[in-house]
Symmetry: C2
Subunit: 316 residues, 2 copies
């Protein structure tokens, strides 16, 4: 499965790990890259101490191309430029205006990957000089927008071609990877599936909740971000496992944001890992995720499944 994306980054497989903040650490990124995909460390808002530890891990463990991702609206330019010193092959920016970072990333010889959730964002990513554009559908776990992957990906492809596009959102098995490719994408960016990888920084009871959960148990919401006190731009909601706390505040987001006591409640619940309250990022493809595995095995399975899916068409 050779694509413009695999060629551009000298990868074996058109699979990228979503740089899930906090959970895609150095071990997971290294495992995906060593498996032939592109491992992306989830740098989130740019916690320097966390990054020093995880980037050291990833650079120690692999020789293959790897990368790191950040939340564009939240990260300081300094952290991004400091991360470039670790010589990633790619740097990914999600949710916000990439232009303050773009030139410096590209001048460092690092491929700039920009994730978009609307056609307007795709146009801006193209103008900023992105080397790869991730078209993310609303099915994705964690933060995202409102467009659905299947119709959104070809629309982005038509807009930005020949810039390679990765499809993200709702992809958890080989069939989804195959769908990404026939939609015109040059690969798939996979998140939730890798949250259950052995190398992910995800506690066992959360992995169990993900394996037990179904797509219909997930929901996009601002409730848990407000409760966490994280000032996400309003257009990016988070898909999480529905829980009693979310249900009790759904539709009362304004009230929640003025309730100062509730952030304390949330912090206490987080300290005791109370899944009835805290956010568990989870995508809609949860129905397709039934067992935990080493990430490299998952990369291999995604590719083999995609090849099977492509070969089976028209032969039934």
């Amino acid at each position: 499965l050779t694509t413009a994306f695999t060629k551009s980054l000298a990868l074996q497989h058109p699979i990228a790990l979503a740089p899930m903040g906090g959970c895609a650490g150095g071990a997971l990124a290294a495992a995906v890259s060593n498996g032939g995909g592109l491992g992306l460390v989830g740098g989130g808002r740019g916690d320097r101490e966390w990054l020093e530890r995880e980037l050291a891990l990833v650079t120690k463990q692999i020789v293959r191309p790897w990368g790191v991702g950040f939340l564009t609206w939240a990260v300081d330019t300094d952290i991004v430029f400091w991360a470039l010193e670790h010589e990633p092959a790619a740097l990914m920016l999600s949710f916000g205006d990439p232009s303050p970072f773009a030139e410096r990333v590209r001048n460092a010889g690092v491929k700039l990957i920009v994730q978009v959730t609307t056609l307007d964002e795709a146009k801006r990513a193209l103008e900023s000089g992105a080397d790869v554009i991730v078209a993310q559908g609303s099915e994705a776990g964690g933060h995202g927008g409102r467009r659905a992957t299947l119709p959104f990906v070809p629309a982005v492809v038509d807009l930005v071609s020949p810039t390679p596009v990765l499809a993200a959102g709702g992809i958890a098995d080989g069939r989804g990877v195959a769908a990404a490719l026939v939609l015109g994408a040059a690969g798939a960016l996979v998140g939730t599936r890798f949250q259950t990888s052995h190398e992910a920084l995800v506690p066992p009871h959360v992995v169990k909740a993900l394996l037990d959960g179904r797509g219909a148990d997930t929901e996009r919401s601002r409730v848990l971000d407000i409760a966490r006190g994280v000032p996400w731009p309003e257009q990016y909601t988070a898909r999480v496992l529905r829980n009693p706390f979310l249900e009790s505040w759904r539709g009362r987001e304004d009230e929640l944001s003025h309730d100062t006591a509730v952030q304390q409640t949330y912090r206490e619940a987080a300290a005791r890992h109370d899944l009835d309250v805290i956010s568990v990022w989870a995508g809609e493809a949860l129905d397709l995720i039934t067992e935990a595995a080493p990430a490299a095995d998952t990369v291999a399975e995604l590719v083999a499944g995609a090849e099977r899916a492509l070969a089976s068409v028209g032969n039934s």
Copy 2:
């Protein structure tokens, strides 16, 4: 592109016309069937006069397999059984419990197609003896549920296999059809794209609005159903082109349902075809729909595009 669906109904292509109420009349269904797909007349809630005219049209124009679809929650069993006398090859039921109809449809030698929007509905469809199950994603124009096509289709396939599944929602070109097939579906059910067909019962200014519109201009809502005074079950919202009327009532659905004057306002706006008020059903794949065409040409283009998409993978 031979599949379990094309074999089951002796079709040339794995493409079905969504039985869009009022807009998929006899001429459009005949054109899709004559083009090698499965044309389904949009019987909606079962208006006998409309159906007599449109079923007469379709039976006059074609010898190939065709079908008719109804809204399960709204249609009388009498109308469904009467429709069977016209000898369709397939009868499709959407949105509601198919069990009161199922046995009689199948005893008439007519293939029963059941559209589902959740895994629980898919299970019920299977239990009712459906011959084909349509897994409809939230991207679809008009009424539907909350699941997105890309992750929902393989989950339904895994649940109901070997019963053939059609993918619906967000499919408007050959790439979408190819995606449906690699996801494990035996074909695609296409709506919005055929709304712009020359044979559709859609006024020219609505066709223009669809061609001009973008996926981001569509939105799922209950507002316009409430204003129309049609008692749709709450779980089925309608994806429509956003307009000032919808925006003014968004989030105030309960208030709207108690405002008796507003239904009169809506009827008057409908009489003058005022697109600032009335509902224009439209799916999220609108970005991919740029010109009106005869439906048979569209069927041919969908298939050729799917073959191109499948052949292009891995060859870039």
